[in-house]
Subunit: 359 residues, 2 copies
Amino acid sequence: MHMEKVNKAVAFLKDLGLSQMLVSDPAAIFYMTGRWIHPGERFLALCIGEGKAPVLVLNELFQFQEDIGIEKRYIKDTDDITEVLKGIVDPEETLGIDKTMQARFLLAMMEHHTAKAFQNGSFAVDRARAIKDAGEQEKMIKASKINDAAMAQFKTLVRDGVTEKEIADQMLGIYQSLGATDHSFPPIVSFGNHASDPHHEPDDTALKEGDIVLFDVGCVYENYCSDMTRTFFWKNEPTQEERTIYNTVRRANEEAEAMLRPGIPLCSIDKKARDIITEAGYGPYFTHRLGHFIGIEDHEYGDVSSAFSNLTEAGNTFSIEPGIYLPGGPGTRIEDLVLITEDGYRRLNDYPKDIEVLG
Amino acid sequence: MHMEKVNKAVAFLKDLGLSQMLVSDPAAIFYMTGRWIHPGERFLALCIGEGKAPVLVLNELFQFQEDIGIEKRYIKDTDDITEVLKGIVDPEETLGIDKTMQARFLLAMMEHHTAKAFQNGSFAVDRARAIKDAGEQEKMIKASKINDAAMAQFKTLVRDGVTEKEIADQMLGIYQSLGATDHSFPPIVSFGNHASDPHHEPDDTALKEGDIVLFDVGCVYENYCSDMTRTFFWKNEPTQEERTIYNTVRRANEEAEAMLRPGIPLCSIDKKARDIITEAGYGPYFTHRLGHFIGIEDHEYGDVSSAFSNLTEAGNTFSIEPGIYLPGGPGTRIEDLVLITEDGYRRLNDYPKDIEVLG
């Protein structure tokens, strides 16, 4: 049980005017308890609040022996959830609800007056999760170090005629040999014009001379995620257009990173990168946000985008991933993870960004 | 667009006192539109109701060109859902909500008075889905025929020293060679005492003489699922205890199936099988429900269990899967899918249930 993480979330709940909350997102429950429980469609909640000892309410199907230092309340499929919550939730106070709680549980709690009122309280937990503590930062750093080392091995898999899928299928073994447990998301391997589809899924396309080779990949180390993109060239030097696009994306990546420190609006970072790409004439072809927060999940609450004006805080970890995608190609993306520190930032990926011709 | 399926659900909504509903479950939307959309955390809903033309509300990220015969209303991440729903949902009427809709959308709709009141309406859609029409029945039948043919091939993979995982890994290729697209759930391959864990995951355990070999497997054919279990013996005839358990489970399976017809309580089918196992002295070792409904998803709404008193209806498809699991082994399960017909039932699996010694 990570009581310091619970306490951080409870303090942020107070800012929302809430004294209690049912945390139901399995990743948030892992964050606080150190235990993954995947309840499928069944009820699962950690009740937290000011001056409350947390209680974990879970279906008996997911029983476990380990003492995690808090009360576990087991329920059966035939139990009435609202009966179980009596004595756990204070009916005289408003209850924070996780944004993803299933409507059937919320409607039942409303009908039975489980609390005075119900309010989306996820922001408090999301805000706590967005500020990584020293232990979490260490795992994020290590996950990205493994990703750097893996990138160096992935590029050795590249050869004429190999398919995107054949390379993608070998990645998990490499990650595991380096100490990671899994992919943090299905790897993107894009050859040639596929690089101009930011969400391309590896297929049976075979590599040919002159192709771009884009890897957008990440792994999980002790439950924390990495995520990096590099764009290579196969056998031939890039064309003039490819070079211009590559260098524009690189400059957007590096100048956005250079401005990082605590207390700046996340939208201003997106603007920096977007302005560079727009001034180079490629604005319409940078079709996604600059970055996303990351931690236990590859995508966590928090965007580096024009629509997200929250300020950076020390302990934030997010991606900086500008890209230019001309319809029909070429496409390029360069992505690092970064950590906001007390007085600036730390880039978590050291894999070089110079133009690299393979083969 | 399958308007006859929408109309079936709208008629059942009426029984719940509802004139409109937001269907948000992707499988239910596939059921009605023929289109799979996986919105992740984003808003997705099909609005249906009496005298209403259905409207599909989806994020512009999931745009598609195909004309499915109904209006598509695209929204952006920055849009206010409640604004979009004005003119689609009647604010003077109660709105049915899918049981799995995310709390954040429901809370926002409540705050903005999108409807007069909100009610769990999933039962209407679930009830429609539980009654398979002729086209769906055909696909269910074919999916199970493939499963029968696959079972005959799976048993040829069994040899001394092979591991559970090695067999499991070869199954998808066999399914695909027979015309299926995927597993309907991760296959269970259990050797020896692992058969007494009904949810065992295939591991590196190697097969040895005298082991039980249990396969609980299913595939997807044109989006519909199959699911069957057979228990074999490797090289040696079963022991007396193994034989008694096997024959008890087989009798429970066959007698439960023999009683099937429309209009009987689902709990009475569970009782029939459970009584047979209990009378044989193994009651405490039949630790799960007798069966579950199945269709587009491997597990759909509807149980064959003591807690589920709904009546069978023509067009229902569900599993009949009694088992006996002695702690430490042996364990046996025999499972078929069945279809309730106008005047009785049809068993969808023809793979024999006689004791079969492999090797």
